[in-house]
């Protein structure tokens, strides 16, 4: 187990290094002067040509990609994201504020997605192939095909514009978070329902279940001790996939609902070519993604001891 975790950690470290290289390559190749970008990332917005030339020498932009990469990576490893190229303010406080809006939204989306999909999947598998089952599969297929941002617009149209029940734009009160969270949750529920449903069905089909039942273990205990852990494995795996969906969905949904957060932060940064902001969001999402997936890999091995200890 410890050896397996070591291998996973090594892999995560390699992947993180890879994401850093990719991010830097993207900024290196983006139209514009990278020296200026780095200069602005590090100091204030107002810079003379002398300073930029000095940075070009210091960072090694006249030398080569790898030299420059090492110079760029240094501050990043100390979690120093530099200064905004537009406002000149340090990146970290603004990034942190954006995160305090996005992560609760993502969690609320995940929670409402689970609250919808778990009962639906359990009800659907009471009678596989029955009307309820087929309806739930149809809803899940439809849900997977609806773009999150369009669903958000439809909900605004119905619940905010037509009925006037909920506020749509901004993030002033907790009520403002309901529509965005539900939009995100419906998207999550579509894929979760499918996966939980097939997880339960597969767990039920396990050959050892009749043997356990024949020994006289009652139905509830079988469901709790044998079916649930089996169905849990794909669900845990899926959280890694849902994370990507949640982050992507949050980007679009924040833009639609005019909410502050990582999505609006990123889109504004791209539009104003604020490279320090762009790189901060990219590095942060990749970091979150790798760390969560690492945690999932470890949990996965804890739930199911059959999973190999060697490098998968």
């Amino acid at each position: 187990m410890i050896k397996a975790i070591g291998a996973l950690l090594l892999r995560a470290a390699v992947v993180l290094l890879g994401t850093a290289i990719l991010t830097f390559a993207l900024l290196w190749n983006a139209p514009g002067d990278p020296a200026q970008t780095i200069a602005m990332a590090r100091f204030d917005a107002l810079l003379t040509d002398d300073v930029i030339d000095q940075i070009r020498d210091e960072v090694g932009l006249n030398t080569n990609f790898w030299h420059a990469f090492r110079a760029w990576l240094g501050p990043l490893l100390r979690f120093d994201f530099g200064y905004s190229a537009v406002t000149g303010r340090p990146v970290w406080p603004d990034l942190w504020t954006a995160m305090t809006y996005t992560f609760p939204l993502a969690l609320a989306g995940l929670a409402s997605g689970l609250a919808l999909s778990l009962p639906l999947a359990i009800l659907a598998t009471k009678r596989p192939g029955g009307l309820l089952d087929r309806t739930s599969v149809a809803i899940a297929s439809l849900g997977a095909a609806i773009p999150a941002y369009w669903l958000g617009l439809l909900l605004i149209l119905l619940l905010a514009v037509q009925l006037g029940w909920l506020p749509a734009m901004g993030a002033r009160t907790p009520a403002h978070a309901i529509l965005p969270a539900v939009t995100l949750g419906l998207g999550v529920a579509a894929s979760l329902t499918r996966i939980i449903r097939s997880g339960i069905l597969e767990a039920r089909g396990q050959p050892f279940l009749p043997a356990i039942r024949r020994r006289g273990v009652d139905g509830r205990a079988v469901a709790r001790d044998h079916i649930a852990p089996h169905a849990a494995i794909p669900v845990v795996t899926v959280f890694g996939l849902e994370l990507a969906f949640l982050l992507e969905g949050a980007v679009l949904i924040e833009v639609i609902f005019g909410r502050p957060g990582l999505g609006t932060f990123l889109v504004q940064a791209i539009l104003s070519r604020d490279f320090p902001h762009v790189q901060a969001v990219v590095v942060l999402t990749a970091l979150v993604f790798v760390v969560v997936n690492l945690a999932i890999d470890i949990i996965y091995r804890a739930i199911d001891p059959r999973i190999g200890t060697e490098d998968a």
């Binding site: 990719l22 773009p147 369009w150 969906f245």
Partner: protein
């Protein structure tokens, strides 16, 4: 299966024949008739510049489906090559390429695509590049898995020992195993590409106006959501119909293949 196939053929026909069926030029501006409700003259109404929405939807099918096809095939080629090189190129190549795949997977697809397309400058080529570069990883994983398992099959070892040339082994032993699974992955990625194109279009980083792409149409429609909500419904319906149909076709294909392999 058959009904799904008919819908797929219907959608492709609409995209191909769109220009013949469209009643108007999709970019023709007609200010006196702006934001008009559906009528006999404009079956789905007009947008803020008086352009006919039905015509824009029909022409838009070419953008969405055509670009999604191009992107999904490009990433299929990239991913399959990388996966096969990883499977057949020895242990260190495998480790390196799979870590590269993990690295690309570490960026949420759409976030990465937005950043790439945004930094490169919004436009069709940036869109194609951004979505292909972020879409090849699943193919690579599947191709690698199949490559590894086929490589050790008795008949492949036998063929190699018998002196069958490499390209021949690739053609007769690898290709038949790869095609079914890759086709299923491809349908899923095709659907994702449609969603990606419309999302980038909606954010303003995709196909640029005045071209009638569905996501860009939604961006235009959003401003007038209160006065003409229907204008916002149509492009979304178009996206949902296409994605749903392709997903269902993919499911049907996967079930058919599973049935076939269980009979063997």
């Amino acid at each position: 299966m058959r009904s799904v196939l008919f819908v797929v053929i219907g959608l492709v026909a609409l995209a191909v024949l769109g220009p013949l069926l469209a009643p108007y030029d999709p970019t023709a501006i007609d200010i006196p008739n702006r934001l008009s409700a559906p009528s006999a003259r404009f079956p789905l109404g007009t947008d803020a510049l008086g352009r006919d929405i039905l015509s824009r939807l029909l022409y838009g099918a070419r953008w969405s489906l055509g670009l999604a096809f191009l992107i999904s095939v490009l990433s299929l080629l990239i991913g399959t090559s990388i996966g096969l090189i990883a499977a057949l190129g020895g242990k260190s190549a495998d480790w390196l390429l799979m870590r590269a795949t993990d690295t690309f997977l570490a960026f949420p697809e759409l976030v990465a695509a937005v950043v790439i397309a945004g930094l490169m400058g919004a436009g069709t080529w940036s869109l194609i590049f951004a979505l292909s570069v972020t879409g090849w990883m699943r193919y690579a994983r599947v191709a690698r898995g199949i490559g590894l398992s086929v490589q050790n099959q008795g008949y492949v070892v036998q063929a190699r020992l018998a002196g069958m040339p490499g390209w021949s082994i690739a053609r007769w032993h690898f290709l038949p195993s790869l095609i079914p699974s890759l086709t299923v992955v491809w349908t899923g990625m095709f659907a994702r590409a449609i969603l990606g194109i419309s999302a980038l279009g909606f954010l303003g980083f995709g196909v640029q106006p005045p071209n009638p792409e569905w996501g860009a149409m939604l961006l235009d429609a959003r401003v007038h959501m209160r006065s003409t909500p229907l204008q916002m419904i149509w492009p979304g319906m178009a996206v949902v119909t296409c994605v749903l149909t392709i997903n269902l076709a993919g499911d049907a294909l996967r079930d058919a293949l599973a049935k076939q392999s269980s009979h063997e």
